[in-house]
Amino acid sequence: MAKANSGMFYYWEDYYTEYDAIFGGKWYFRMSWYRVVGLALIGLMLFSMAYRLIRGLGPATNLNDHWPWGLWIAFDDLCGIALAAGGFFTVFVAHILNLKPYKYIARASLITAWFGYIVVSLGVLMDLGRWYNFWRPFVSWGYHSWLFVVLLCVVAYQGVMTFQFGHIFFERVNAPRLKEIFDKILPVIFVAGLVIALLHQSALGNLYIAMVDRQHPLWWSMLIGVFFFLSAVFVAPAMCVIEGILASKAYKTDFRHEVPLLEPLLKVSLCVMVVYLIVRLIDLAARGHFLAIFEGSVPSGLFLLEIFLGIIVPIILIARRKTRKSVPGMVTAAALIVGGVMLNRMNVVFTSMYQDMGGSYFPHAIEFSISIGLVTLCIMAYCFFVENFKVMPEEHEHHHEEHHAEEHGGQLELQPAHH
């Protein structure tokens, strides 16, 4: 660690002068018709949020006494956090396993994960009926609740992020003492981030342990937290692939350069998916609900779809070396994994609960517009970030020839571009 830092210290000066030369010292946001539509969607979301805050949940949503949780919890919260798992996974690969080539991926996914968390927090705030009371749990501890764990994780993750920015902040602001402190605690921050991610992912699943008498036995399990965590782990490489292909399409770069980096990650995905599948089936059998898979009801059908399309087909695709190493094969497998995990979260919130909940629920237009707007906001923020900060791979490709480039990639999570 110390070695890497001293290395960086020497090269720091020319690194950021070059940085200013590239970007000309100006904030930059290229406009296109897609982005106009995107901004319009964000505008619509702001209107919807205002409407929801002024009129309340009843007029703004179709949530009701039968369905207190709906689209926002299922899509923004459960799906959003699962798909943000790329952040902790790449930190693990790049910083804990210390695999240098992955450090630029770690930076990009860390940033998307961070945007994801902010956007999720915003979405959850909309869902809270008495949102001005959000701080109450810190004073009045409901520490038996898994939601308490979720809240602590969200807040602690923001704390971790602040520390990582502190580390960078004091590299530019001349305060060597403070910088030294921040450098020293960086490993602690990495480990803390990983523990928080484990707790948060599993806590979201464990919320449903309390629904022991309400949830369909195909999904209810004491191990649901383990399943949520494992699925977050195996969806992370898939998200890296999806983010990579989308970014290369948007910025006209060659995705094939990234294949050798992403392919080993997908192998990790494969192993975790095999473990996940086996544990899930054994758990079903141990609880005596294995045959419920074949009962032919809507839940059993969706369970089969989730397992077959989201787990088994990707396992086969990734297990074949030829498809794993080809861009279409890789992207197909990744898309199936992401779709499968999203279906799993939707099943946990809707499919597994409807038999007990009764009533009916279909999201209101306002609910849709807030969910869509939040995703758009996340994408736009990512674009803005990519265009104004160094995260894209090819900027690092040519640095790789230089012996000091890796240190930069590893140590700089976010560059404040301008004074």
Binding site: R130, R136, W146
Partner: protein, 272 residues
């Protein structure tokens, strides 16, 4: 042990005096309709010509209806009978709503009632999701809604007086008293009237015991009540998961730290 209710299905005549009394006493907690609290219909226009499955839909618990009496047509040994079932908060001995609330807005009082503190509530609605009986309801049309459910007239029960519904009941179908005494009273009724009652006290063991107990002469399943409930309190499940997850997280964190140190050291050796 605290107070509770014993609801005897053989005695209820479905007059709904309890609902009227409940609304009257708790009116300060209820959100009135446009014409005032007493404009709320007692049975939401219950139409018994509709299929049975729809009756509950017609008279559900809501943010302003903490207590309902559901009419049920049941078939007992070929005999068609009307039965009236009380539906309100069960005031569990170990309530799920208390365990799942991350702001601890619900609490089980030593007197028996499970009560809600609106000033702590964040409005996440996890209590509504968690409740095995699907009891807590929401004031959906308020800008800052509250969760709403029966509070066993806490101002009365804490001085030992019976709640409004129990004092209004003309047939003593709902008895108020110490839960242990009510349990022995229920057992006595079942024992002394052979062939009348189903040999089961609903609420004695369901989700670890509830303060609202039922005895009935027809199967609880036919009354639309959940019969396949766990006998273990729900908080025990969530606490067990909490305990071992925190252990796993600690071990995982230690493993990550060790791995970090190991790979760094390896790197240092490689550079030498």
């Amino acid at each position: 042990m605290g107070y509770g209710f014993l609801f005897d299905l053989t005695k209820c005549i479905g007059c709904r005096a309890c609902i009227a009394a409940c609304r009257d006493y708790n009116s300060k907690y209820l959100v009135p309709s446009k014409k005032g609290i007493n404009d709320l219909p007692l049975d939401s226009g219950l139409d018994r010509r509709l299929p049975k499955a729809q009756w509950d839909e017609q008279a559900p618990l809501t943010g302003s209806n903490w207590l309902r009496i559901h009419a049920r047509m049941v078939n007992r040994d070929g005999q068609i009978l009307w039965r009236f079932v009380r539906r309100s908060c069960f005031h569990c001995e170990r309530p799920t709503c208390e365990a799942v609330c991350f702001a601890h807005a619900f609490r089980k009082t030593p007197e028996g009632p499970v009560i809600y503190n609106r000033s702590l509530c964040v409005g996440c609605r996890y209590c509504m999701m968690g409740c095995p009986f699907n009891i807590p309801k929401y004031q959906w049309n308020e800008v800052f809604p509250e969760v709403s459910k029966c509070r066993m007239c806490y101002e009365r029960t804490k001085i030992g007086a019976p709640p409004a519904c129990a004092s209004a009941c003309p047939t003593e179908a709902i008895l108020f008293g110490d839960r242990d005494e009510l349990l022995s009273e229920a057992r006595r009724r079942i024992r002394q009237n052979p062939g009348v009652y189903v040999d089961h006290i609903y609420g004695e063991k369901e989700v670890g015991g509830t303060s609202l107990l039922y005895i009935s002469d027809v199967d609880f399943k036919d009354l639309g009540m959940k019969t396949e409930l766990t006998e273990k309190p729900v908080p025990e499940y969530t606490d067990r998961a909490l305990n071992w997850t925190l252990g796993v997280a600690a071990v995982y964190g230690a493993a990550m730290a060790a791995l970090y140190v190991a790979t760094k050291r390896q790197e240092g050796e490689a550079k030498k």
